[in-house]
């Protein structure tokens, strides 16, 4: 068998196995797998360098299926490489199987989860950035893209950043099978439309017949030789290639074939080719020097913005932990990640105004073991919510920081105010959500984030706020802090971030009227300190929560959840931003939103009076 014959046979095997896996599952995307089978056969046999026995080998290439629905093809490749058995292949999509409907890192050879289209290539850019700038290893990143997903703007953010990063270690392969889920794509088989866009973005582009293994081989070889820029292989393919019942026919997306046995026969029957995938000699990734952790310290009573403390602390953490890296979306002088950038320029990534690519890059970097901290205005993290959601499916570990939270930002107005970020970030699988009120607390929490698993989020405030904690106080994730209390308090006020200062001021005002208010700083919104809050509130029987956020899904509801198990429920008044804010001074907007010291005091008074009447 010649090399080309072997590739053709392997392509057919991948098709056969894709058809069989989907048939066994009774669902899945065999036709989307069949179009890319020849492209993958040549890649697996000749170009991919991957040690399936040692997926942690830092010299391994990375194969990212941006078109994650072609999972039957992914798993058929793993079988051809000897990584899984035929028996396991046929567990596809069954409950408990590692072979999920779309690939996830439940499998050791899968870096990241895909299946939300338009994410794999951006993440691949992140891995390629790690290879060039951090690991400094010769591994290559291969991203297999669908033509439908080229409609996602995030793909073009990836094109921009890959070219800007001169990522000649990245090869994108677009499987132009012409057909999306419900019909033809915008560009059909117009390969030139993709080539033109890619070249405009300074990529090297090669159009090929995606079923001509010789042409595919030549394209990969050409890609390997390109220096200083990434390459895209734009491959004309047939969806459902090789099976006349479905080949190039609309209406067969995401469905098993009607007659899989006939399809397997038409494809030439079962095969059992095994590929000895090339292994690259091991190499040590580059590492950066570590130093002692010297967190910034702020004087009690000083006025420091928590966003500034974030920047200070991030630089400190970066000094101690050389795997910490930072990314920012062109606002590093607002989020203060510029402090990290100045200290560790090699480990800082300017992502310009491309929040999706920022988060995708972070996911890619952490796939190589780096510890990304990505920052922008909290409001603009909403731009990347799908990427954050999917990062949780990827079991990614990364830290996000959102500055300029809430109406307290003032004059810039609602477009810049995050009022939904607590809800958004709480509703991420396994996430941690932190919201410090002062600079020393911020520093401690940033240090803690470097040690957390999963996706953690820090919400920071634009305005300078008083330092209320000494630099030696410790704050654990999942804790809370009673800032003010007496033996017989009448009411408990629970705030976080900007509202803690308002709560303290309200307590002062209430004290002058003979009402004793306990003040709790609920800096860990998720996990929340249920025990501590129950204890702090049980004594008073009346609770005011106050947050610079919409009333839904934020601090108030988190507190209700934390208190839900109590046998005796306190009366709870929840203050949150009720109407759409405009511009104004921070104090004006806090007042207009009903979350300033006076509204807090009013709510507390009413609760205390209502209890007195009962």
């Amino acid at each position: 068998m010649t090399e080309r014959e072997r590739w053709q046979e392997l392509g057919q095997q991948l098709r056969v196995d894709s058809v069989r896996a989907a048939a066994a599952a009774g669902s899945g995307h065999p036709t989307s797998s069949m179009s890319a089978a020849d492209l993958m056969a040549v890649l697996l046999d000749k170009y991919l360098h991957y040690d399936f026995d040692d997926p942690e080998n830092p010299a391994n290439d990375h194969l990212v299926f941006s078109k994650g629905h072609a999972s039957p093809l992914v798993y058929s490749l793993f079988k051809a490489a000897g990584a899984i058995t035929d028996e396991e292949l046929l567990t596809f999509r069954r409950f408990g199987s590692r072979l999920e409907g779309h690939p996830t890192p439940a499998l050791p050879w899968v870096d990241v989860a895909t299946g939300s289209l338009g994410q794999g290539l951006p993440i691949a850019v992140g891995i390629a950035l790690a290879g060039k700038r951090l690991d400094r290893l010769p591994y290559r990143v291969w991203a297999v893209c669908g033509d439908s997903e080229m409609a996602e703007g995030s793909m073009w953010e990836a094109f921009e950043h890959a070219a800007n990063g001169k990522l000649d270690n990245l090869t994108a392969i677009i499987d132009v099978n012409r057909l999306g889920q419900r019909g033809e794509t915008m560009h059909g088989w117009d390969l030139e439309s993709y080539v033109r866009r890619a070249e405009a973005c300074d990529w090297h582009a090669i159009a090929v017949d995606g079923h001509d293994v010789a042409a595919i081989d030549a394209a990969y070889a050409e890609a390997l030789g390109v220096e200083g820029r990434p390459t895209v292989i734009v491959a004309r393919t047939l969806k459902g290639k090789g099976v006349s019942a479905v080949e190039n026919k609309n209406g067969w997306h995401g469905k098993p074939l009607d007659d899989p046995e006939a399809a397997v026969a038409e494809l030439g029957g079962l095969r059992d080719l095994r590929v000895e995938v090339h292994v690259r000699e091991g190499a040590e990734p580059h590492s950066f020097p570590a130093g002692p952790l010297e967190l910034p310290q702020y004087e009690l009573g000083a006025e420091v913005a928590t966003r500034k403390a974030y920047g200070d602390a991030l630089a400190a953490v970066g000094g101690a932990d050389p795997r910490v890296v930072a990314l920012d979306g062109e606002v590093s002088n607002s989020t203060y990640s510029e402090i990290f950038q100045a200290a560790y320029p090699e480990r800082f990534f300017e992502m310009f105004i491309a929040e999706q690519q920022m988060v995708a890059s972070a996911v890619g970097l952490q796939a190589r073991g780096w510890k990304p901290f990505a920052s922008t205005f909290a409001a603009f993290l909403t731009r990347a919510y799908d990427f954050i959601r999917m990062a949780a499916v990827s079991r990614a570990t990364m830290a996000l920081s959102g500055s300029h939270a809430g109406v307290s930002i003032g004059e810039d107005g609602p477009s810049q105010m995050a009022l939904e970020d607590l809800a958004m970030m709480r509703a991420v699988g396994g996430s941690t959500v932190l919201y410090p009120c002062d600079a020393n607390q911020t520093a401690k929490l940033v240090a803690a984030m470097a040690g957390l698993e999963g996706i953690s989020y820090l919400r920071t405030t634009r305005a300078a706020t008083p330092v209320v904690y000494g630099p030696d106080e410790d704050f654990e994730v999942g804790g809370s802090r009673v800032l003010r209390f007496a033996d017989e308090d009448d009411v408990t006020i629970i705030g976080a971030g900007i509202t803690v200062g308002e709560a303290l001021a309200a307590a002062d005002a209430l004290a002058a009227e003979g009402i004793s208010a306990r003040v709790v700083d609920c800096y860990s919104v998720k996990p929340i300190d249920a025990e501590g809050l129950q204890e702090a509130t049980a004594a008073t029987g009346a609770v005011v929560t106050v947050e610079d956020h919409w009333p839904q899904g934020g601090l108030g509801e988190a507190v209700l959840s934390a208190l839900a198990d109590l046998d005796e429920h306190p009366a709870v008044a929840r203050l949150a931003v009720a109407g759409m804010p405009g511009s104004g001074k921070p104090a004006e907007l806090l007042a207009a939103a009903g979350i300033d010291r006076e509204h807090i005091a009013d709510a507390a008074r009413q609760l205390v009076r209502a209890r007195a009447l009962r």
Copy 2:
């Protein structure tokens, strides 16, 4: 004064007024305004057709500042057009002023809020689509873009869709002032990089000196003459143009000038040019025929997916209300918006896999008074969260429908499962969140959505579920329905959507053990029926909530909020998806997530037993 001299003078006036507005506010973006002043002077004086006395005139052009931070320029234009006084101009960014930090429709001449970059052009595409395909009027859409925001992938979704729609009524103007917030953009003054990308996307592109009014004039004239495709004017400009202290200098983004008086003097002093803006003769927009509302009806006990009922009902609503239009993100055969498409192809917009552009188009269409319903998998609406958030700031009215919610979708796995959409959509200003459990209820709620203000969201289920309501039952937004009750119930089970059937099955099982369970269908998650739920739960004193969603921000917390005012709190057990799901059959995944009938019955039993022990 020649025409050119007038434009130059007007440009200087716009600069002077931008400087003055920011100086009065003590904040804002004068330098980003000054770069685009000449471009806007020529546009306002010669090309824009807009009746400032009648902003609702359907023949008006639309001017969208995608770079919303150039609000001083926007307001200076309005002053030059005689729409606002100099006195009002100087209220910029003050509390209560219509002149917010970034433009919003608080001003009648502003279609949509901008300020989150990368959104204005996509929305402009939506308005231009309305002009071409719905209104069929000759108005033009002008989108003023920053060069920094070209890094957002959403801008390239807009480029794709504008070309695909042959939107020669759209002109984008890129103000290439080279400097972003913290430094130079990726492409600096490389105008060709933008021209190349735009041309690759089949736009007509014109590079100009953005301070040469004759060249600007020629570019607009050229744009007017281009047929069959949109035009982009790529203008080389100087940030802070005209004031030596800031011109083309980094570090002056988003700051008032240090010495505004000197700046005004350098710009030649105050001017008071008034522009008589061209008005286009009024014209009637095209309208489509209306018919009677004939909602689909489903037989009790039949098995129908709520997503199917969405499609049926949307087509019915479209037949009755000719302003209803539909958009879909290339999954119309899954969301069943294809039923609307088949019935009303002229009012259907295929947005391919570009959820950001889909929502942006909806916002643009509603700016012209159309009633958009946009659908995709609920999980993929996370992709457009920033656009949805901003749509609320725009006071937009649109309906969103997300199908394939939760683990109950089965084999496709977590990438396709919306588990955060209730939290996400509840935390949108003024939103409505609906989650029907059967087909007849879905039909009624879809009809209701066509009459709602603001952003409404319908969550639908992939699987066919039993029809539990007759076709004549009515469902009001903000209501709930007690599906099963006895005089002396022991426990109340509150579900919505897929969990209602599970709750009913649990109640059956409990009844066999002598436990009487009330079942409440909480189909309106926001606004929630606080009164109804309080009444339904007060009688039993024990509540189980159950949802196919993460525990944060969804049904369970909405119910806690609804019950928070009660004097006597019931014991509440909240069931929700606790861990990351995988693939499997729907029933397996509901069980694994702890939200199926058996888990509900268990939770109810435990609550009832605990109460018996007290």
